[in-house]
Point group: C2
Chain length 357, copies 2
Amino acid sequence: MSTAGRRATIADVARAAGVSTSTASVVFSGKVHVAEATRERVLAAAGELGYAGPDPRAASLRTGRSGIVGVVLGGELRHAFLDPVTTVMMDGLSDALDVASVGLLLLRDDPREDDAPPIADAPIDAVVLIGCSGRARAALDVVRHRGVPVVVIEGDAGDDTPQITLDNQQASARMAQHVFQLGHRDVAVITLPLDAGRERARLTVERLAAGTLDVTLDRLAGFREVFPDAPGMTAAGSLIDEGIIAARALLTDADGALRHDRPTAIVAQSDLLAVGAIRAAEELGLHVPADLTVVGFDGIDADGLGSQRLTTIAQPALAKGRAAGEQITRMLAGEAGESVHFTCTFQDGETSAPPAS
Amino acid sequence: MSTAGRRATIADVARAAGVSTSTASVVFSGKVHVAEATRERVLAAAGELGYAGPDPRAASLRTGRSGIVGVVLGGELRHAFLDPVTTVMMDGLSDALDVASVGLLLLRDDPREDDAPPIADAPIDAVVLIGCSGRARAALDVVRHRGVPVVVIEGDAGDDTPQITLDNQQASARMAQHVFQLGHRDVAVITLPLDAGRERARLTVERLAAGTLDVTLDRLAGFREVFPDAPGMTAAGSLIDEGIIAARALLTDADGALRHDRPTAIVAQSDLLAVGAIRAAEELGLHVPADLTVVGFDGIDADGLGSQRLTTIAQPALAKGRAAGEQITRMLAGEAGESVHFTCTFQDGETSAPPAS
DNA sequence: TTGTACGCGTTATCAG
DNA sequence: CTGATAACGCGTACAA
């Protein structure tokens, strides 16, 4: 336990134990059998010198692997984790990566504009992009040049990167049809953010044209197949509170009173937004679904959502995360990664009904 | 762009540019001024060879820094991020670490019992433990031996590790007094998990004695100063749904009917639990605070909590995270880390009132 | 089963 | 402002 200046290295341990460094190395890695006697001698020497095992940095340089998988999330970290879909995907990812990886490295999407993207300086074996905008792609090139596998979940990767995708447009169209078939003609939509700016705003043609986030645009396109001219609000994020704000804007006048031409149905692009819309409706004295139909998207099972089963489109979030993990595992093994496409399933609930006549 | 077998290294780039490797290195690190001409020559050579900048692994070995800070969270990852307090602390942490660090590495608390704790194999510059049980301490020793700074937030570190602490017991006592002074005598408590097992259960002396999570025990101790014999339920986590379940158990009979001897006040050890308790009460036809007082702990401002301002004890979660980050920064700079103690503030709300007479 | 020798790709130091 | 050199700490053929 008494080292002079330097910290003990594996070479010191080997010398103290009277073996070669390779033997000592093998004792720690456990890759080859060593005689029990020598093994113990090495361990004892290590204990005496206060050697804590191979330095991960050096091992990582040598093997070319760090065991770390980077996760780049769109928007701020705290926002990303407030979204149950993201959480569940991370869960699936972490699950599928379990064997070969030490942990997930959280990386920001939006580096300070001045300096290099952090992703380039991180010792990662692979990267998963989750719901990132185009900005992250520049950073990606650096990483890809280095031979680091990349998988994109619902982002605009464009090129030959394996992607995990969802039938957002078709699923949204199906949901819109459900609402249409119930008899609704005055329908409004609450969308997810249109771009990385994440601004709350009334949906307009111009704003729509400037949108960059594919998830939002695809879901909207499906909705528009059925309700081409429906009004809408864009939320600043997938949050209950945002749903409340957006729904209020859709249902009330400037003075806060219920509008006479209010929609009879609200199609939200996420379940959290839908829950917010329901809350706003209830605050305004509307009963769901008797007075107002509200439908969501995601099929999440989040904490404290309330007892009413939401009519929604369920997406296989866990499977998406797991698929990303599996593709990464394959690519780390030298095989080619493949894109995987998932489809959503309609999930009828208690929040949609024909309009009051 | 045509490299034979190997990937290009900085040495290749230097050779191609007709400079020494050190010059090339300096061009990329930007630590020293280089003549614009040589700089461009190096960059050009790099572009031609498809060199993507210094390998983080090698740089990390050389400098002894990876720019990565490990975060060990109690329980499962997905649970940890459902807790707004944790999220906010991470936010503060990430904020304070911002300057010198690439990202946060999420590490599991509960390694498979067989293999080494992942924390030991990760190239991290420092570690933050958040609400971990004693199990994580073994892993800690390995890391500490290596000279990696460690900071513990609300965990039982015991030794000379800098800790970020909260006056859980005093704050809880203060809140209990508030409830007492309102006139409540039949009070029940909903606690956070007692140990890493996280089992839902009625609070008993035996279970209490076997508890290992300090946060829970300290808050309970404060409560018990005022209400020594109050009944209670232990939740499986800090979740709204758990609060609902626990409150139902406290308020109703086996057949689901409101008990005659139900408590007139419920003290929850977290705001989410309190929100759940309020929901359960409302489902049972009780009005808060007229029929039932419900108080929380944390002072969170989470998504979709509803409009009623909770009577609670606010803890400076952001400051806690930031303090952890600051201590780490200091320790990385070679200074000694210090423990930091925070105190909570009582925050009156609309969910506590005298009992119905 | 153990030892020898080498290289992984970089950066700090110091001299010019 | 640039160049030569020496570590950084380890894993792994290969030979014994």
